[in-house]
Symmetry: C2
Subunit: 142 residues, 2 copies
DNA sequence: CTATAATAGTCCGACATCGGACTAAGGGGG
DNA sequence: CCCCCTTAGTCCGATGTCGGACTATTATAG
């Protein structure tokens, strides 16, 4: 019963939940309390791509525009980012990291590394690769 | 980049999101609007195990007690279940399906089947089994 | 048997999330 | 150059979710 293919949605839900709780706890531990995994995703996106518009952030973290409004508001209030109007096109906002925001990078990378260790534990590399490859296929097929 | 083991959390998050949207849409289509996947989980649990206490439901669907209070309230308001005090131990409530609730069973099974077809598409059976087995392992290791 | 601990559940405040309505700005055709 | 469509973003109400405080009931220890 446990390993039947029908269980996949259930398993994915549980894993995602555990990952979420783990990351939330780590953020708490590093006095970034108040921030949730999704805020980490936004910061990660800013590390990776530099300045971004609200819409771009929404696409990258896969949330609705209205959600991103709240999210970015919180990140700004915490002093990790700032928001400026694009001079060329006044419909856009440009979100960018502050120095304080850039200072989080090492912590976030560390959390991510710990997370990976935690989730895979002693699973051999080939199995990891196979697993991710299968998951990627499911995502593409949709 | 896409298939590196580090992507697993990201992939799982996306899959879960897509599954959620699919199920929500199916519930809507069958005029069970207002109900969300998690309500389906509760109903499934009741089909499978019969009567359950609030706490048992919380464990099965992996939500906090306070969340289950709201969830069950909604299901009862929709007429799918009812709530009675356990005569032996007055701390417990016994949640049970109504006739209307039992009538949902075929629909929910149908949605589940469709979901499985949708998520796996043409993935060969061996790969499905391997995938689920690996996911189950990750869940256990946690 | 009474005081304390454990257990089931609710209530409350906070917040992430969504959909949809709305505003503001830009682009294109006549 | 003006009207209309598109696009970026916000606002609002609803709701799922959580943690923690609280109540009520039952179990247990002395």
């Amino acid at each position: 019963m446990r390993n039947e293919p029908e269980m996949i949605i259930h398993l994915i839900g549980r894993l995602r939940e555990k990952a979420n709780r783990f990351i939330t706890a780590e953020l708490e531990r590093r006095s970034m309390g108040g921030l949730k995994p999704v805020h980490g995703d936004v910061l990660f996106a800013l590390f990776k791509y530099g300045n971004l518009s609200m819409k771009q952030i929404a696409e990258i973290v896969d949330r609705k525009k209205s959600t991103v409004t709240t999210l970015v508001e919180k990140i700004i209030k915490a002093g990790y980012a700032e928001k400026n109007i694009d001079d060329n096109d006044n419909r856009f906002f440009i979100i960018s990291l502050t120095d304080k925001g850039r200072g989080l990078k090492d912590d976030l990378i560390d959390i991510s590394d710990k997370m990976i260790k935690k989730v895979y534990k002693d699973m051999p590399t080939e199995e990891r690769v196979q697993l991710v490859s299968s998951l990627a296929k499911l995502n593409d097929n949709w």
